[in-house]
Amino acid sequence: MAPITLVEAVNMALARALAEDDDVVILGQDVGVDGGVFRATLGLLDRFGPERVVDTPIAEQLITGMAIGMAAEGLRPVIEMQFSGFAYTCIDQMLNHAGRMRHRTQGRLSCPMVLRTPCGAGIHPPEHHSESPEGMFAHIPGVRVVYPSSPSRAYGLLLAAIADPDPVIFLEPTRLYRLFKEDVPDDGKPLPLDTCFTLREGSDVTLVTWGAMVRETLQAAERLEQEGITADVIDVATLRPLDMDTILASVAKTGRCVIVTEAVRSGGVAAEIAAHLAEHGLLSLFAPVMRVASYDIVVPLSRLEGRYMPDTERVVSTVRKCLAFG
C-alpha cells in the first residue's frame, strides 16, 4: 500500500465507514460529484450513491440540525462544513441540541453524529478560510472535539468519531491535508479518543500542541535536539475532554511546559491546559507555562498570515526562554 496524505486518509476512513455500516450518511456542500472542495469525499458518490453522499444547499444550520434529526433516528450522519469559518452558525445547533439530546431525554434519544471541518491558516486563501475555532467548540458540554495531525491519526480517530455514540466535532488541519504522506493500512482500527499521543520523548521540556501546529512543534523539537535540548512532544488530539493525565505526567518529568496553538492567544484550549497545570501541576513547574499562539487579532488576509501565526522560530525561541528561566 502506497503512503497517503491526510486528506486521503480521511477519505479512506469515510469509505470504510460507509461500506461497513448502512447507517452512515455523508452530507455537505459539494461532497457529491465534486468530492468536496478538498476532495475528502472523492469517489464516495460513485461508490455509495446520492442517498448516502448528499450534496446539500448552502444552509449550515440546516445541515447541522438535519444531522441531529438523522442521528436521533439512529443514522450516523457525517457532515462536512466546507470551512470552519462558516461553521460558527452551527454552534447553536451543536451546543443547544447535539450536546444535549441525550441528557435532555435522559438517554431516550441520542446524537451519534460527526461534524467534520477543515481548520487553520497557512494556505493563503481568501478571508474566513483560516480559522482556529477549536477553543469555542471545546467549551461545549456533551460534545467531543477531535483534531488529528497525521494521516494515520486522521484515519483512526475519524473511525472512532463515527463509531462514537455521541456527537464529535472533527477538525482537520487544512495545511496538512497534502503536506506529507504516511503508510496507513486500511484495517478499520479506530484510535482511542480522549487520549493524547506522545510523538517524541525528551527530558527538558514538554511541548503540547495539536492540529497543524504539531508540525512546527516537531520541527522545533528537532532543532532544539541539535542544541542538546530534548522535549516530550504531545499531540493532544482530543481537545474535549482533555487527557490531562498524560500532560501532567510529562510535566512532572520535565518541569517545563510550552503550549503551541494556532488560535488567538486569549482563551481557548491552550488556556485550559495551562490553567489545569496551574491548578494540578504547580509543584512540578520549574518555569512559567508559556504559550506560543497567534496574536489576539483578526486573522489577516494572506500576505500577513505568516506574521500572525506561530512558526517554528517562535516555538524555538519560547522554549529557550522557558529553559532560561529560574
Binding site: P57, G65, E73, T105, D194
Partner: protein, 363 residues
C-alpha cells in the same frame, strides 16, 4: 411581460363560530367517533392547562406556557398521525403531546424542571420540547430524511409558532424538505402573537402559508379553531407526505388566549376586548355544539368527562408531588453514553455536595 409562475393560497373552514357546518363537510366530519375522542382530548388538555397554571402560581411548578386556545390544532394534527410518525413540538404543544400519549405525570415532571419528564414511555420516538425557536425545523428534516432513506412510510410533523416563521432555520428547513421531497408536515400555529409582537409586525407577508412558496412546496391556511378543518388538511398533507408526495406547510389560524407564559402579563400589550372577541372563536365550545347537534354528545357525557379529567389530573398531580426528587447523578449519567474519565471526579464531587431539594421556583 410573461408570467413564469403563479401561486394561490387557499384557506379552509368547515365549522363556524357556533359549530354549525358552513358548506359541504369533508369525509372526516362524518367520523363522529373520532371527533368525540378529539373532543375528550381537548377537554382533558384544557383542564390540565388550568391545573398547570395553578401549580405554577403556588410555586409547585416552573414557568409554564399555556396552550389554551390551540387545542383543535394540536389534536387535529395528531389525529392524522400514526404512532410510528415523529412529532416535534415547541413549549406550547402540551395538548399535542398528551394526544400522542405522553403522560400527565411526565408533563408535570418536565415543567417542574426535571429532564426525566422528557423520557417518555410513549411515544418513544417523539422529540422533546424545543425551546429555541424554529431550530427543531431542521431536526424534522433530518428525521424525515431518515424515514425516506430507510423506505419507512413515516412522517415527521413539526409544529411552530407565527413568530418562528421569521427564523432563518424555518426557511432552510422548508427548502431542504422541498429539495429531497421529504415526508414532513410543518404546522404553524398562527396565534397572532409572539410574546408582545403581533403577527402584523412579524412579517409583511399577507399569509404565513405563502412562505411555502419560497421552498416550492404546497402551503395552505386553515381555521385552527375548527378541528374538522384542521384534521382534514392534516390528513391530506400527511397522506401525501407518506406516499412520497413531499412536504407541506399548514398555517392554522388561532389566538393565544393566555399570557405568553406564567412569566408574562399580556395585558401590558394587548386589549382585553381583543381577547374577549377571540374567546368567541375558541375551538372547544364550537366542537361541542357540533357534536351536540349531531347527537353524538350529551350533557351527562360532558359531566362524566369533566369528572374523569379532574380525577386523572388529581392523580397525576399527587404522583408528581410524591415523585422522588432528581439526584445530581442524573446531570452526569446521560451527558455521554459513558461519562468520559476526565469528568468522573466532578460527578463524585456533585454527589457529595451539600443537599438542595430544588423545590423553589421563583419564575
Amino acid at each position: 411581460m410573461p408570467v413564469v409562475s403563479r401561486f394561490e393560497i387557499e384557506s379552509r373552514q368547515y365549522l363556524d363560530e357556533q359549530g354549525r357546518a358552513c358548506g359541504a363537510m369533508p369525509e372526516c366530519a362524518r367520523d363522529l367517533a373520532t371527533l368525540t375522542e378529539l373532543y375528550r382530548q381537548m377537554v382533558l388538555a384544557r383542564s390540565f392547562d388550568q391545573k398547570m397554571l395553578a401549580l405554577q402560581r403556588t410555586g409547585q411548578l416552573g414557568t409554564f406556557a399555556s396552550g389554551v386556545g390551540k387545542e383543535a390544532i394540536d389534536v387535529g394534527v395528531v389525529s392524522a398521525m400514526k404512532p410510528e410518525d415523529a412529532l416535534l413540538v415547541t413549549y406550547r404543544e402540551t395538548t399535542a403531546q398528551l394526544a400522542r400519549g405522553v403522560s400527565l405525570l411526565e408533563l408535570l415532571i418536565y415543567w417542574g424542571g426535571d429532564e426525566r419528564g422528557s423520557n417518555f414511555a410513549v411515544p418513544r420516538g417523539d422529540y422533546p420540547v424545543c425551546i429555541t425557536i424554529a431550530s427543531h425545523c431542521c431536526h424534522a428534516v433530518g428525521a424525515a430524511y431518515a424515514f425516506k432513506y430507510r423506505k419507512q412510510p413515516r412522517v415527521a410533523v413539526c409544529m411552530l409558532g407565527d413568530g418562528a416563521t421569521s427564523k432563518g432555520e424555518f426557511y432552510e428547513a422548508m427548502n431542504g424538505a422541498g429539495i429531497w421531497r421529504l415526508p414532513i408536515v410543518f404546522v404553524v400555529t398562527n396565534n397572532q402573537w409572539a410574546i408582545s409582537v403581533p403577527r402584523a409586525a412579524q412579517t409583511a407577508a399577507q399569509t404565513l402559508a405563502q412562505k411555502a412558496i419560497a421552498a416550492g412546496i404546497p402551503g395552505i391556511q386553515v381555521d385552527g379553531n375548527d378541528v374538522v378543518a384542521v384534521r382534514d388538511v392534516a390528513l391530506e398533507a400527511m397522506e401525501r407526505a407518506r406516499s412520497g408526495g413531499g412536504p407541506a406547510l399548514i398555517e392554522a389560524l388561532s389566538y393565544r388566549l393566555a399570557d405568553h407564559t406564567t412569566a408574562d402579563d399580556a395585558s401590558r400589550y394587548r386589549s382585553a376586548d381583543e381577547v374577549v372577541a377571540a374567546w368567541k372563536r375558541e375551538p372547544i365550545g364550537r366542537l361541542r355544539n357540533y357534536l351536540l347537534a349531531q347527537g353524538a354528545w350529551s350533557r351527562p357525557e360532558e359531566e362524566a368527562l369533566l369528572k374523569s379529567c379532574s380525577e386523572q389530573i388529581q392523580a397525576a398531580t399527587q404522583a408528581y408531588l410524591a415523585h422522588p426528587p432528581p439526584q445530581p447523578a442524573q446531570m452526569f449519567d446521560h451527558l455521554h453514553a459513558v461519562l468520559p474519565a476526565a469528568w468522573a471526579w466532578q460527578r463524585e464531587e456533585a454527589l457529595d455536595g451539600s443537599s438542595h431539594d430544588g423545590s423553589d421556583h421563583t419564575r
